[in-house]
Subunit: 488 residues, 2 copies
């Protein structure tokens, strides 16, 4: 019997595949068996949750306030207080004055609230139109495809009403990152991320699974440009990654791109009168630019969605949050140190970043005020040297974008400590060169400027927007090194 | 038999110790057996080497050029070229002009050369007198004790000649760090390090072995002040750590101390005419200030003297060098990554630090030149506002000390990346505030200052000292991020 078995086995293995096709039925494919079939295009997480109840239940928990985390990211903690970014960093109220970000700019809550927060924020934040929904609803790709130009330019509320009523408050959903058949990671934002990757010569189909784990997050945790026509109507949205490479999307290249075309300038800064571009939450850009964790092959979910065990199941935690908020569980998977020890190192980095952000921010705000002085002087008939003015403006913008870059990034430097600090150092250097030139130009024009420029911050901090928002002194972030934020 | 054995064992263990003392001879002490006995006070490594030949042979190898290491620390590499720090960072030739550091300032070679380098450097570097021997000869503690004030103030060569002829070129030796009886680590520099530790409330006898492994290095790899009398004769030497704590010797506290007493001002900066203090190789200060490696309990020798195996012996490598030079052997003891990968992360940090050091250095040099302009204007009878001038000077000094701190520190930021970058960022911020105020003051005094200040660097870089040293363009460190070092 044994002899015959071996002969049969050898015989079977030697048969060419065509034998089966010709002689037998094709064997059934290996397929995961799930209690439900998720329909193509189904946005409803509750339906997906029938097949993946643990992920779904964790995802729903993004509704609940988080445990306390970083001292610089206090919103959505146990006390449920929403922190006002303009009160945290008062200089930013001056710098962002002129559009929505200068009116109401809150620290972010959990994913559950993404569209709810948008619906309750001051309407000035939604002026760009339907394009603001790009990262907020799973319907965005469909709308963009079907409506084309209208999707970008028509009023936010008008586009939003096209979402079926049941899903109008639904934020990021399973379908934004997963294939409905086998849960493979997918990029749902072809018109933003996929285009940007191709601009860098990256073909999405070549990305590894581990890279895809970061890419699904990079659909939204990036900066972007809402392009404008000459009437300041939105005409599109793109990521300013051209000229960079994956693993090295630099602030230098981003700024070069932002400044290369007037249609990228989205707003007018009130204090200077300059038309400027903007930078939003560039988590992916900072992290992926040669950071130590990126270079170690770490992906976003490795830290923000570490595995949780539920009974005998082990799934990546769809209650996305900062590792600081859940006992640094993600960190201790690789680092042998205690959570307390690791937390202290994170704070060492964040303290230093916050300190330099304050320096860079205030220095840039001072320059903005000097431009106001220069503009007033010109309006009053004084002659300010144009070459000097233009050079100062050039440096000012270089500083401004760097301050926004690190200020908007949500890790307070942790995603890439030396790069964050380098960028802020350069911001101070650019702002200071601008200030020097501008003071010279003003002096030559016979305009006396005081040693310490009054930033008049209350003017920008109080009575903001429809809600008449006010400065909340208790929320202000002070220099952790005990010095004044601004050297006076 | 078995039963009796147990009874006997119990009985023996229950006997009080006095029983042995009263009834027997005291047992012999455990003692290491060595082929030679090292005499107390013996400075000759060759004698110690008879007992510890492997350590001695490795120590002797500090005479040989190292393998290539960091691109920012190229001296003493395979090509044997000595790199000129003033050519590497041309701004420093301007800032240090006025005393020895502005004449000849070379990147360091191995420990073997410490006193040889001193004997061949431009004599302006030795003007402080015998005090310059404090870290260069094992005879220093004895001289300090015996000669008192003379040790500090008498000419360098005169004190040096008190060293027995055979040992006049002998640098750091076994006795500087070890007890001759049992090789215990010891602090030989009671008059500098031990005093400084006590000023911070640290009792040397409370230090752990692992702390002592850093402390022996901290006898010299620190900053120090050579105090002066009113004729600028040296009167002592101390570490400016007062007001700090072990694990947090901050640049803020160091500067506060340096500026607290005119006797700490060691030289006059030529370009500004200011009497200033100075900061030397503060490796220990930067590393121990809450850096991630310090917090992880790492000591200096863990990285710079990793264990080597010689036959069946395993000893800490007394050929002290950068981990970058010996295949990152020290790093891979804790880090699982490949040496190439680890090297890349070190360079990522050093690139960013070098870039910001250039910004900070040039910005500070610009301000120095503006003070020269202001001083000339005052000499020509123009009235420069004193309050503004003093405030600008205050900020300038804050910037200057920070630039020297990171510029003199020999890790190009690696010993504490976010702290190094924070300090440099603050340097730029202070310098820029100074520049702004000074430009204002000059404008009010009717002095026109150009947009881009000419630093006239050749004046400071060429024909330096007795050797008529010149700028070596090939050695200049360029901004690794491809921008100009100074924004113009």
């Amino acid at each position: 019997m044994k002899g015959w078995g071996v002969v049969l086995l050898v015989f079977t293995f030697c048969l060419p595949p065509v034998f089966f096709i010709a002689g037998c039925q094709e064997p059934p494919k290996t397929e995961a068996v799930r209690p439900v079939k998720i329909a193509s295009g189904d946005v409803d997480p509750a339906h997906w949750g029938k097949a993946y109840p643990i992920e779904y239940e964790r995802w729903k928990k993004t509704k609940e306030p988080d445990p306390a985390g970083s001292k610089y990211k206090r919103t959505f903690g146990p006390d449920r207080v929403i922190y006002d970014r303009l009160s945290e960093y008062p200089f930013s109220a001056l710098l962002y004055n002129g559009w929505g970000f200068g009116v109401e700019y809150n620290e972010p809550r959990g994913h559950f609230y993404m569209i709810r927060d948008q619906l309750s924020v001051d309407p000035s934040r939604l002026k760009a139109g339907g394009v603001c929904l790009t990262c907020k609803t799973p319907y965005a790709p469909q709308f963009e495809k079907e409506m084309g130009h209208d999707y970008y330019s028509r009023p936010y509320k008008e586009i939003w009403e096209n979402i079926p009523e049941k899903y109008r408050k639904l934020g990021v959903s399973c379908i934004d990152c997963h294939d409905n058949n086998d849960m493979t990671l997918r990029l749902s934002r072809g018109f933003t991320l996929v285009k940007a990757l191709k601009d860098m010569g990256v073909q999405p189909e070549d990305l590894t699974h581990q890279q895809m784990r970061s890419m699904v997050c990079a659909q939204c945790h990036v900066t972007y440009v809402v392009t404008k026509d000459k009437d300041m109507k939105s005409t599109g949205v793109f990521f300013p990654w051209q000229g960079s490479k994956l693993g090295g999307i630099t602030i230098e290249n981003i700024i070069k791109k932002l400044r290369s075309d007037p249609s990228y300038l989205e707003w007018k800064q009130a204090v200077t009168g300059f038309k400027l571009a903007y930078i939003r939450h560039p988590e992916f850009e900072l992290f992926s630019n040669n950071s130590v964790h990126w270079n170690a092959g770490v992906s976003c979910p490795d830290c923000h969605m570490p595995y949780v065990k539920v009974g005998t199941y082990k799934v990546s935690d769809h209650r996305v949050m900062s590792p600081l908020k859940n006992g640094l569980k993600a960190c201790v998977q690789c680092h042998a140190e205690s959570p307390d020890w690791l937390r202290r190192q994170v704070f060492n980095i964040q303290d230093r970043t916050a300190s330099l952000l304050l320096r860079a921010g205030y220095e840039t705000a001072v320059v903005a005020k000097l431009f106001e002085t220069a503009n007033n002087a010109q309006a009053a008939g004084k002659a300010v040297d144009k070459v000097m003015y233009d050079k100062a403006k050039d440096f000012y913008e270089e500083a401004f974008y760097r301050v926004v870059f690190i200020g908007a990034e949500n890790s307070v430097g942790f995603h890439n400590p030396p790069e964050a600090l380098r960028v802020l150092g350069d911001a101070v250097a650019f702002a200071s060169r601008s200030e020097a030139i501008l003071r010279n130009a003003l002096a030559r024009a016979g305009v006396d400027v005081p040693q310490n420029v009054d930033l008049d911050l209350n003017k920008y901090l109080d009575k903001r927007g429809e809600k008449k928002l006010k400065f909340i002194p208790a929320q202000e972030i002070k220099d952790p090194f005990g010095t004044q934020a601004r050297f006076e």
